[in-house]
C-alpha cells in the first residue's frame, strides 16, 4: 500500500523524507566503502527486474485473484542491506514519478515503510541469523514467509501511524489497523512464497550466482554487531525524534495512540455491522491533532456553539464558494486561451 500525498501533513511528510534521506546517505556511504564496481549495473538492472517481475502475475489457487512480487525482502536477501535499500528507493522513486503511485512528498514515507524495515530490520535481525549459511529449501521458505509478513506488517502499521499523525483522515486507530493488517497478512503470505520460490530456484539452477552475489555484497558475509547497532541507533534516533516532536505539538494525539497501542483503550463491543462500531469509537475518542473538540454526532446547534470550531461562518463560506468558482473559471479560461493560441501557432 503506498502512502499518498493528500493524506499527509507537511510535518509528517518532511520528517519521513528526512529520515529516508538520512538512511539513504548512510547506505550510499557504507556501500561506497566496500563496493565491487560490478554491483553498480547489477543494482540498477535488478531494480528494473522488480518492475518487470511485477508484470508477470499468476493465479492464486482458489481465489481467482493474482499475486506478484513486491521486492524489498528479495532484494535484501540477494544484495544485502545497503544495496537493497538503494535499489528499493530507486524503484519507489520511479513508481512515484511514472506511475504517480503515492506522490513525491509521500515518497519519504514509502521509502521508509517499504525499504527501511525489510533492509535494516528484518533482514539483518531475522532472516540472516535464521538462515545463515543453511541452504535448506524448507528453512528458506519458512524464513522468507515470516520475514515478508513481518516487513509488510510493519509497513502497514506505519501507514496507519503516518495517516493518523497527519490528521487528514477521520479513521480511528483501531478500525484502521483492523483494515490494514489482515490485508497485508494475506499479501505477505503470497509474496513470501514467491520470494522463497525464486531464491530456491536460483539456488538450484545457478548456485554460483547467489554465491558470487553474497561475496560481493558488503553486509552479507560478516555481520558485525557494531554495524547493526549503529543502524539501529540511527533508526531509533530518527523515529524517536519524530515521535517526540509530535508529542510536543500534539500531546493528545500521541497519548491516545499510545493508549491504544498498549491496549488500554479496547475496541468497543459490536452492535450491528461496522457502522455502529465506528460510531462508538468516534464517540469515545478525540485523538487527532487539530481535532481537539468533542465530536457531537448530528447535533448541529452544539456544533455552532463549540468555540474550537474552525472559524468559518456561513457568510464567508458563501463568498468563498463564489470566489472559488470565479477563480476556477478564470483558470479554465487561461488554459483554453493558451491551448487555442498554441494550436493557431502550429
Amino acid at each position: 500500500m503506498h502512502m499518498a500525498d493528500a493524506l499527509l501533513s507537511p510535518a509528517v511528510g518532511t520528517t519521513l523524507w528526512a529520515g529516508s534521506v538520512a538512511v539513504g546517505g548512510y547506505a550510499s556511504k557504507k556501500l561506497k566503502e566496500r563496493i565491487d564496481d560490478r554491483t553498480i549495473p547489477l543494482m540498477g538492472v535488478l531494480g528494473a527486474f522488480i518492475f518487470a517481475s511485477q508484470m508477470i502475475n499468476f493465479t492464486i489457487p482458489g481465489t481467482g485473484s493474482s499475486g506478484h512480487l513486491g521486492g524489498g525482502m528479495i532484494l535484501a536477501i540477494l544484495l544485502g542491506s545497503h544495496a537493497a535499500f538503494l535499489v528499493m528507493a530507486s524503484v519507489l522513486t520511479v513508481q512515484a514519478l511514472f506511475f504517480a503511485d503515492g506522490g513525491l512528498l509521500a515518497l519519504g514515507c514509502n521509502i521508509w515503510n517499504l525499504s527501511v524495515y525489510p533492509c535494516y530490520l528484518i533482514y539483518p535481525f531475522i532472516y540472516k541469523p535464521w538462515v545463515g549459511d543453511n541452504k535448506s529449501p524448507v528453512r528458506i521458505l519458512v524464513a522468507s514467509i515470516v520475514s515478508v509478513i513481518l516487513a509488510l506488517q510493519l509497513g502497514a502499521f506505519s501507514v496507519v501511524m503516518e495517516t493518523l499523525l497527519s490528521g487528514k483522515s477521520e479513521l480511528p486507530f483501531g478500525a484502521f489497523v483492523l483494515l490494514m493488517q489482515p490485508i497485508h497478512l494475506s499479501i505477505g503470505i503470497v509474496e513470501g512464497f514467491i520470494t522463497a520460490g525464486v531464491i530456491n530456484y536460483v539456488q538450484g539452477a545457478r548456485p554460483e550466482i547467489l554465491e558470487s552475489m553474497a561475496a560481493s555484497r558488503p553486509m552479507g558475509t560478516e555481520v558485525s554487531l557494531k554495524k547493526i547497532m549503529v543502524t539501529f541507533v540511527v533508526l531509533a534516533v530518527i523515529t524517536g525524534g519524530a515521535l517526540s516532536w509530535f508529542a510536543s505539538t500534539h500531546p493528545d494525539g500521541l497519548e491516545w495512540s499510545i493508549e491504544k497501542i498498549t491496549g488500554k483503550g479496547e475496541l468497543p463491543k459490536q452492535e450491528h455491522g461496522i457502522a455502529p462500531v465506528l460510531k462508538t469509537i468516534q464517540e469515545k475518542t478525540a485523538f487527532l491533532p487539530g481535532y481537539n473538540f468533542k465530536p457531537a454526532g448530528n447535533d448541529a446547534k452544539k456544533e455552532e456553539a463549540d468555540p474550537a470550531w474552525p472559524g468559518i461562518d456561513a457568510g464567508t463560506s458563501l463568498a468563498g464558494i463564489i470566489g472559488a468558482a470565479i477563480v476556477l473559471g478564470m483558470i479554465m479560461l487561461i488554459g483554453m486561451g493558451i491551448r487555442s493560441f498554441r494550436r493557431r501557432d502550429t
Binding site: I40, V45, A52, L104, S169, E170, A314, G323
Partner: protein, 269 residues
C-alpha cells in the same frame, strides 16, 4: 488495469517528456524545486480547507497547456491511482457527521468537506508529480537530484533502472506471451511455472548485468559514472522560481479567493 497498459503508459509519459516547449526547456532543478514547494504548500492547508485550494489549479493547468500535455491522459492516470486515497478518505463522511453549514439553507457535513478537501489535494499533488515527469525527461530529473546533493550512487542506480526498465518490461511481456501461447487457459499459469519464470527472468537479469558490466569496462569504466556538465540555471529559470514562490505565498497566506467572492457578492448585491 493490466500491466501491459501500465507499461505503455510509462512509455507514453516518457515520450511526452522529450518534447520541446518552453516548459520542457526550463532547468530540471528549477522544476523539481518548484514542484516540491507546490506540494508542501498544498499539503499545508488544514483539513477543512476547500476554497483556498482553487487558485492552486493554475500551476498544473499552466504546465498542461504550455507543455502541450494531453489532459485526458493525465486525468486517466490520476483516476487509476486514486483508490487508496479515496478508500481512506471515504470514512470521513461516515465518521464526521457534524454539520458544516456552508450555504444558508443547505446542510453539508464536515466529513464531506474534509473528504472533498482530500480529493482536491490528491488531484493537485498527483497531477503536479505527473506533470513534472511529463515536462522533464527522467534523466533530467536525475541530474537535477544529483546536483541538489543526492548521493551519486543512488542517482546512478536510478539511471540504470530507468534505462533497463523498458528493456526488461518488454522481455517480461514477451515471456508472458510465450507462456500464454502454450498454456491454454489456467494450466501452466500456476505458482510453479510462475516462480520458474521469475527465476529465469532473474538469471537473465544477472547475466545481462554482467554483460553490461563488461560493456562498461571495455569503455574504460573505473568505478565512477562520468557525466558532462548540463545546462546551468539561466535567468528564465530564476525568474520562474521567484514567480513560483510569489504565487505560492500569496495564495497560501492571503484569502484571495474569498476576497474575490466577497467583492462579487457585493457587486451582485
Amino acid at each position: 488495469m493490466t500491466f501491459d497498459e501500465q507499461y505503455f503508459d510509462i512509455g507514453r509519459l516518457d515520450r511526452l517528456s522529450y518534447r520541446e516547449t518552453c516548459v520542457h526547456r526550463l532547468d530540471p532543478r528549477a522544476k523539481v524545486i518548484a514542484v516540491m514547494l507546490f506540494l508542501l504548500t498544498v499539503i499545508s492547508f488544514p483539513k477543512y480547507e476547500i476554497v483556498a485550494l482553487a487558485p492552486f489549479f493554475l500551476f498544473p493547468v499552466l504546465l498542461l497547456t504550455v507543455g502541450e500535455i494531453p489532459v485526458r491522459f493525465i486525468i486517466k492516470k490520476i483516476i487509476v491511482v486514486s483508490p487508496f486515497a479515496i478508500f481512506i478518505g471515504i470514512f470521513n463522511p461516515l465518521l464526521d457527521a457534524r454539520t458544516f453549514a456552508v450555504i444558508p439553507g443547505f446542510v453539508v457535513s464536515a466529513g464531506w468537506v474534509s473528504f472533498f478537501s482530500i480529493l482536491l489535494k490528491f488531484t493537485l499533488t498527483i497531477s503536479a508529480a505527473l506533470l513534472l515527469i511529463a515536462t522533464t525527461s527522467f534523466p533530467g530529473v536525475c541530474h537535477a537530484l544529483r546536483r541538489l546533493g543526492f548521493p551519486a550512487l543512488f542517482v546512478s542506480q536510478l539511471l540504470f533502472l530507468y534505462r533497463y526498465l523498458f528493456v526488461l518490461m518488454e522481455e517480461a511481456m514477451r515471456i508472458i506471451r510465450a507462456r500464454d501461447m502454450r498454456s491454454f487457459g489456467s494450466r501452466g499459469t500456476g505458482r510453479k511455472v510462475f516462480v520458474r519464470i521469475i527465476g529465469i527472468l532473474f538469471l537473465r537479469t544477472v547475466d545481462r548485468a554482467e554483460r553490461i558490466y563488461y560493456a562498461m569496462l571495455s569503455r574504460g569504466f573505473q568505478g565512477d559514472i562520468p557525466s558532462l556538465k548540463r545546462s546551468r540555471m539561466a535567468l528564465t529559470d530564476l525568474a520562474f522560481l521567484s514567480m513560483m514562490i510569489a504565487y505560492l505565498s500569496i495564495f497560501r497566506f492571503f484569502p484571495v479567493t474569498e476576497g474575490i467572492g466577497r467583492v462579487a457578492q457585493e457587486l451582485l448585491g
